[in-house]
């Protein structure tokens, strides 16, 4: 049941007030500030189209396709930030990736049915996207080919992968073993349940129907017009950078900026309207009286979350796409480089990271 994200927080405050009469010392680091090495993003993109419906690429664009079809070649790329060094190179990371059963992954699934992840995917005969298995290993980047569509995935149209990322000299295998044994602190390890939208849905359902998989919508109820829907692409923000109210540059043309201690940085992300228009997708809604589906066009929802290092601190946190984000530079900051990483994502799991460096002067 969908609920506003803030409500539990308020209710929780009540609970804690009741339990503790607010008798505590709050020294929690801000969620936006990277104080120790941290996995902040895993981008997913199609690196090679498979044989199914190549026309889904839609309007040509440099933005990566984030919505694969079965038999596409797909890649995950982890972004791990060291508070002192910035982004950790992919070569210094290790990863293990698993394909999950669409309904069981993460805390509940991995703990409950962990043994199935010992099986390597290539050892499964007639492998489909429904079968939990071990996809393989990599560094910060991992490529694999999506297997055949399964009936469960046709129902959800969201593939679920489990990623184990290790850094700082720890092996991903060690992290995975510790994760399953649950008997030690999981330091220098990152764990991610990575959802990947598969489609476009209408092409996927039509393809499933062609190989005998029942569609949640009768195929004949899907109008031809919705097949023009293009594959989802990762959003590409253009960010106006203001320092103390003055424009100092535009990302991605410029990555490096200078900021004085005590100054205020404002990022104003924007998204190309034409590109966003080409991302129009359709939502099928069931009429509760007739049980028939009708289709409505929708615009994707983009959200942003900032992370900072060094002397820069975010004033806010989660924002809907295009909302200005304010940051402050420590008044007594020592000279050095600080960074802002703006993670942006759409509601079909397209995800990317904008990296901005700020040279804080004396």
């Amino acid at each position: 049941m969908p609920r506003p994200a803030c409500a539990p927080a308020l209710a929780l405050a009540l609970a804690l007030a009741a339990v503790a009469m607010v008798g505590c010392e709050f020294t929690i680091p801000a969620a936006t500030y990277i104080h120790q090495t941290k996995l902040i993003s895993v981008q997913g993109s199609v690196v090679e189209l498979g044989p199914l419906n190549p026309g889904r690429v839609g309007v040509p664009s440099e933005a990566p396709i984030a919505e694969p079809m079965p038999h596409d070649r797909f890649a995950f790329e982890a972004t791990v930030i060291d508070p002192d060094r910035g982004q950790v190179p992919a070569s210094e990371l290790e990863s293990v990736w698993f394909q999950c059963d669409p309904f069981n992954c993460g805390v509940s699934g991995v703990d409950r049915i962990g043994a199935v992840y010992d099986v390597r995917c290539e050892d499964i005969e007639d492998l489909t996207m429904d079968d939990p298995c071990r996809l393989g290993e990599g560094d910060g980047r991992f490529e694999f080919e999506l297997p055949e569509l399964g009936p469960l995935l046709a129902g959800t149209r969201v593939a679920v992968y489990y990623g184990v990322i290790a850094w700082g000299g720890r092996s991903a295998e060690d992290c995975w073993t510790a994760r399953r044994d649950r008997d030690e602190l999981l330091e220098r390890c990152g764990f991610i349940v990575r959802n990947v939208k598969v489609g476009p849905s209408w092409w996927l359902l039509a393809y499933g129907d062609s190989i005998g998989i029942e569609s949640p919508i009768p195929i004949w109820e899907i109008p031809a017009a919705v097949y023009v829907q293009a594959a989802n692409r990762t959003p590409r923000p253009v960010i106006d950078v203001f320092i103390d109210g003055k424009v100092v540059g535009v990302y991605p043309e410029q990555h490096e900026f200078e900021a004085a201690p005590g100054s205020t940085i404002t990022l104003v992300p924007g998204y190309d309207p034409l590109e966003q228009f080409s991302q129009t997708f359709f939502v099928a809604r069931q009429d509760s009286e007739t049980s028939r589906f009708w289709f409505q066009p929708g615009q994707e929802l983009i959200v942003e979350f900032p992370y900072t290092t060094g002397a820069v601190h975010a004033v806010g946190g989660f924002q809907f796409g295009g909302t200005p984000q304010d940051f402050v530079v420590d008044e007594f900051a020592d000279p050095g480089t600080s960074q802002i990483f703006l993670v942006y994502s759409d509601d079909r799991y397209g995800e990317g990271v904008a990296r901005l460096n700020f040279e804080v002067g004396s």
């Binding site: 409500a7 539990p8 929780l12 010392e25 709050f26 764990f191 959200v303 509601d347």
Partner: protein
Amino acid sequence: MRVEGRVLEGGGSRAPVPGAVVMIVAAPATVRPGRRAHEPLDPDAVTWMRRAETDREGRFEVAEVPAGMIRVVVVSGGFERLEQWAEAPSSGTIELYLRPDQTGAYRTEVTVERGGVAEPDHSLDAQQARHYAGSGDDPVLAALNLPGVARSPGGLGLLSLRGGNPTETGVYLDGHPIPRAFHVVPIASVVSPPMTDRVELSPGNYGPGYGSFSGGLIEIFSRPGRADAVHGQAHIDLFDLGATLEAPVGPGSMNFGFRRSHVDAVLLGVESVVGPTGILLPTYWDYLGRVDLPVRRNHHLSLRAIGAGDRLRGRGPGPSPGESPNLFDYAASFHRFDLDYRVDDGDWRVLVSPSIRLDSARLEQDFLIRRDATVLSGRVEAESDLRENLTLQLGSDLVYERWRRRERLVEEVGGDILDADQLASDEQFDGQQLRLGLWLATTIRHREWSIVPSLRGNLFSYAGRQLFRLDPRIEVHGQVRPKLEYFAKLGMFSIPVVAASGDASANLITQNGSFLGGVADVPFYLLAYFDPGIEGEIRDGSAAATYAIQAATGVEAKLPWELEARGTLFWREVIPTTVDIVFSSSTIERRTSRSRSMGVELLLRRALGRKLDGWIGYTLLWARVQPDEEPWLPAVFDQRHNLVVLLSAALPRNFRFGLRFRVVSGNPLDTVLGGEATNSSFGWYYQPIRGERGTTYQPVFHQLDLRVDKRWPLRRVAVTAYLDVQNVYDRRYPEVSIYTADWSQRSSLVGLPIYPSFGVQIDY
């Protein structure tokens, strides 16, 4: 001349004092009638004296008194000596108020009944229990200090008995179930303390007149009004204010009391000055009224009306005109109306008690869930002493619930195919469930022994399934020595097992809720406490039944210095069963957990001390849970050692001093090892990765609470003020941990700081 008067107990009671000795002697002409004589009577100065004794109504009459000023001296056991000026002849009746002897004003009475049909293990006099330190004037909270009851975090009203889940404890008020024993915030029981007569607790085996829960039973009894005169009580403390009124009604009496919190009014008042604070608004109220009438000889009728409610509001910043300022609004309440008809003809006794309860719960955010239920409850009991050594009891209890539910849901976010279940909707549906018990019990006495075998039949009708289960139970009591009693109890306790639609949680409180930039790791048992439990109803066809086996044996001894000791060995096992969770197109089998607890309870008490009373309670507990075919885990309330020292002492000048000291083992932890991210339509969120429960435990809890009462007994009223200070030496115990948003670091610990509570009470 003639002098007439009446001797009454002062300080609001105004009960007549029979058998008091009244002496009248001459007094100087300058004294003022009605004033106390501060100089004590000089026996050598007595020239004449008249003497009388009060009758049952406290009245006295003295004839042949010389005209003029007189000194009246009243002496009665249990009261302070009174010397007061008066005038002869008296104009009307002189009222003389005696102050109770304060060395015995309050007495701790934890009584243990013996030999009846399945009497409770502990019975606590509510008015005395109000003065215990650390319980905030609440007798039900005071009962949590008894052996077998787990320490609850932050002083919350969680009733975990012998390591069981608090949701497995039966909560009854005057013979019928109530939805909850405590208001949510602040912590208070749903029955106002002045209206409470006693609290009975059975942490394990309970009588055949009750069923359907595996974790023990707590029953609260309301207090009938006094029939001698009009009395009342008013109180105010930091959280609430309330009043009671009791009076004779015909040959019987009435008693009515209400209470309402004022925290919300205070907060709103503060905000009108300092601006919005964002603090949530809690409101609670309760009332209880009862009329008790003797209908005819040995026939007694009681009518009761009981209600309680809570409301919590979370307010958003700057609401638009016309919009609700509440981000969420939760309210729950119940109203109950009972009839209680008793016949006690010496050798046989009958009780017939029907009750109707109206429940309502509502949670509104951008969605609305409202649940209304009508609960019919009935209890019929008949007991007869067939022979001197044989008592037969049989009876039936019924709880029938018919509910109606409304769900106004918003459209599900995300996804490109929205079927009918995912679209915005506004639906109403209803259902019903029933549990019926029939029981037969006998008490067989032979010499110093009594045996109470009983058999209870349970009919559960849940989710369209009817299940019948039998519960055989037996109790044995024996006076093995003049001051030593042995007891043993063994029984089965059938419980329904159901699967609910949804997750039966409205997420009012979430375990991983964000909190000031971090996440609070709220334990599951706290979620259960705050959760209104209105999201899910029982899924059609998804019902089964299982049972718990409980056993207890021990001794009770009377010791010198009015000390009593009780030792109990106990064992409880909840047997797993399989419940079918029925979906529209499939059925999933779910195996419930096996749970086992065992231990020792020790209670050393001084119940009747005139200056010092209280008890020392100790529980040694071992509680485990075994999820389906998995290794055994510690139960969430697996508190190995639990020691409570509770003392109350009468001091001079109407002061009373109370102390509570507790040392309790920490609960097992579901240790957080790290975080696990999930990408969603709204970015990433994190869940904790937990180690096996019990690999680490919370640290040992220890806390000292102190309380001082001061009573000012006046003629017609008594004023009492108390200061109850919890956690005197400010021990910060980590009840809840605050983690960084990604669960990678524990940053803060939340515990109860030193916490004073102040209240004033006026008795009329």
